[in-house]
């Protein structure tokens, strides 16, 4: 058929046939090259944390993606379409406008756990507290702390590291089960703490950008979210066949992974820390 083959002559049919298949081959090749080029560009622009979170969020279950306004009872059902980035959400301000709750008036139920009202909470169980010197202190909330217990190993980012909102803030493991905690806010790490200090990171906010914590849960919203989280945890720790069967009430015990070693902690850590 092709040049060099004895008796070959180009005809319209040959040209059409070869053209179509060259075009198909070219499309496949171009598609692969475009994907490779974009990956290279993403790596160069350090977009990996954002992409990782988008990918993880995409894989979360419907329950894990519930909108904060659903958890607080402001709407019956709504899933978050913005990867928990309420600052970019067009609906969030409308909810705030429609239901302006005077935060001081509503008692915050924290189910016996320590959730200081001045902190801002991320759905992945990290908290942020703005300090007077302009820095942001980041820690693990009380539910996360009780879940993990004293970690066997913690891997904190070095000072100077730039953290992205929803990027990995730190990693750790307990009893052979690894976990990672998402950064609740963007900023540069200026100091590291640890489990014993009660906080993990001190961040300097992104330069020339006022600290915006609207995407984090605060005040009255914490109650609804915590109730849902405790429900989720109860479901996760229940045997599959029976469904939720733990008695309601009481306070979540300390070092839960030690107290219930038979549970699938890999699954529990993954779901509670939003790592599908």
């Amino acid at each position: 058929m092709f040049p060099g083959v004895n008796g070959f002559h180009w005809t319209f049919g040959h040209i059409l046939f070869v053209s179509i298949f060259c075009m198909v081959g070219l499309v496949i090749l171009t598609t692969a090259i475009v994907a490779a080029y974009r990956s290279w560009r993403d790596a160069r622009l350090n977009r990996e944390p954002r992409i990782r979170w988008q990918s993880d969020f995409h894989d979360l279950s419907d329950r894990e993606r519930r909108c904060r306004h659903m958890l607080s009872g402001e709407t019956k059902s709504r899933l978050c379409p913005n990867a928990f980035e309420c600052r970019d959400c067009v609906t969030h301000p409308k909810f705030v406008e429609l239901a302006p709750v005077a935060e001081q008036m509503v008692p915050v139920e924290t189910y016996g756990m320590d959730f200081p009202p001045e902190n801002y909470y991320h759905r992945g169980h990290a908290w942020v507290r703005p300090e007077e010197n302009g820095t942001l202190v980041v820690g693990l909330d009380d539910l996360g702390r009780r879940l993990i217990g004293p970690p066997d190993h913690v891997e904190l980012p070095a000072p100077g590291t730039q953290l992205e909102n929803n990027g990995v803030a730190w990693r750790g493991d307990r009893n052979g089960v690894s976990f990672r905690v998402l950064a609740p806010v963007e900023g540069e790490v200026v100091e590291t703490g640890g489990p014993d200090k009660g906080w993990y990171l001190r961040l300097r906010p992104v330069a020339n950008k006022p600290t915006d914590l609207r995407h984090l849960l605060h005040g009255y919203e914490v109650s609804g979210w915590l109730r849902d989280e405790l429900d989720r945890l109860q479901m996760l720790l229940s045997p599959e066949a029976t469904g939720p069967s733990l008695a309601d009430g009481g306070v979540l015990m300390e070092d839960l992974s030690k107290a219930q070693p038979g549970a699938n902690w890999d699954k529990v850590m993954g779901e509670m820390f939003l790592e599908p």
Partner: protein, 426 residues
């Protein structure tokens, strides 16, 4: 001796059996694959004398296998077409599985074809010295390109593995590749449309075989269109069946019931159209085409065991019956009926490919010709078994280590059933 634990390779939140249990279940398939690999070696080393095919009966078990798995594997391109181009979002829950089934089917068919054609080192001859008058030229070009597309579509699923996605460059590449998948889905649809058709056209143009010869439209015999239609009709049924089988074996719900209904209904509608056209085609062939070639109606069916029962089985029992069952929403709602109808539909397409391959070659065409019988040699069965075992192994390993069914985690979690408003995840 330290024991290897693969827990960190299994997607988080998914329950899988122990590694030992998994290995034990795969062992028979590995043995079968090893036996098949030996048969492949024998065929490639000593040639086609290892088979019961000859110059007169040149198409046998392997071509039947090729045609059947390529038809069943059509679920991959058709699901991709419906999801990415027609925006049937619910099919997202089976697309990964469909891609792997398509990849397994096409790569398995390529292996069987390579053994059948022989001389694999000269495979490039197909592309440099093709017979441009043969439908097979178009088939080989299309299948090669489509297998490449399937391999590229498999990559993002592979990179979703828990360990692999920890590597930043893999994660980013998977993300970017996923964004361009609709382009590949469109290319796959184009390629599949033509090679499914050309495989049917291959038989339809056999003037010397009046049993297979058909008239048609322009250069394409009617079998060209019927092969496309039958493939896209049973593709969703095969996806349905494999998913049900995976559910049965893993004892876990993997997709929502609505997805099964959607696949079943799609299959039902297309199968109905196919059966109608196939019936018209058969009537034209019996009353016009074959008579023009000097054959009276039903003369082809006087050779046992290929009596008229095979025509009835192909069109009515394995065509019309599953089509009607899948069309009826009341019948489709019963899981046993849905599964049974899907099995019948898949068997129907297999029988159609069997008839066109084996029955066509067995029937005499000239006055001095005789009815031939053919039974595959054990080496041929061995190659068949190798392809089957290869498919099971690839699918089983993928099921264990890759998130094939995105809804699995949610469906297996003991949460309350609450209807949530669906918001796009984009």
């Amino acid at each position: 001796m330290p024991s290897f634990n693969d827990r960190n390779l299994i997607p988080r939140g998914l329950e899988r059996c122990s590694l030992q249990g998994f290995a034990l279940r795969l062992a028979p398939w590995l043995l079968l694959f090893a036996f098949g690999a030996y048969c492949i070696y024998l065929c490639l080393r000593f040639g086609l004398n290892q088979t019961n095919m000859d110059n007169r009966f040149a198409f046998g078990l392997w071509i039947f296998l090729d045609l059947t798995v390529i038809a069943l594997g059509a679920g991959a391109f058709f699901t991709g077409f419906l999801l990415y181009l027609m925006k049937w979002k619910a099919l997202k829950s089976v697309i990964n599985s469909a891609v792997i089934i398509g990849f397994v089917c096409y790569s398995g068919a390529m292996v069987a074809l390579a053994v059948d054609v022989g001389q694999p080192l000269r495979a490039w001859f197909t592309f440099w010295h093709p017979n441009v008058h043969s439908m097979l030229t178009e088939v080989s070009f299309c299948i090669t390109c489509y297998l490449t597309v399937l391999a590229v579509e498999y990559i993002p699923i592979l990179l979703k593995n828990r360990k692999l996605k920890q590597i930043p460059s893999f994660l980013v590449f998977e993300f970017e590749l996923h964004k361009v998948i609709p382009v590949l889905a469109a290319v796959g649809t184009l390629l599949s449309f033509f090679h499914q058709g050309s495989l049917g056209g291959l038989y339809g143009v056999l003037r010397g075989r009046p049993f297979a010869y058909r008239e048609g439209f322009a250069i394409w015999p009617s079998t060209f269109f019927l092969f496309i239609l039958s493939a896209i009709a049973v593709g969703p049924s095969f996806i349905l069946l494999t998913t049900k089988l995976a559910e049965k074996l893993s004892r876990k719900p993997l997709v929502r019931g609505g997805v099964y209904q959607m696949l079943g209904k799609t299959s039902g509608v297309l199968l109905t159209v196919y059966v109608a056209l196939k019936s018209v085609d058969t009537l034209i062939w019996l009353n016009k085409t074959s008579q023009a070639a000097g054959f009276t109606p039903f003369e082809f069916y006087t050779f046992k065991p290929f009596g008229t029962w095979i025509l009835f089985a192909e069109i009515v029992l394995l065509g019309l019956v599953p089509a009607l069952l899948l069309l009826s929403s009341r019948m489709r709602a019963r899981p046993a009926v849905l599964t049974g109808a899907a099995i019948l539909a898949c068997c129907g397409v297999a029988l159609n490919r069997f008839v066109l391959t084996i029955q066509t070659l067995a029937l005499p065409t000239l006055p001095f010709d005789e009815f031939l019988s053919y039974f595959p040699s054990w080496q041929e069965f061995g190659v068949f078994a190798a392809v089957l075992a290869y498919g099971v192994l690839v699918y089983a390993v993928s099921f264990r280590y890759l998130p094939l069914f995105p809804d699995e985690k949610q469906l297996t979690a003991p949460v309350e059933t609450e209807e949530l408003e669906y918001v796009s995840r984009s």
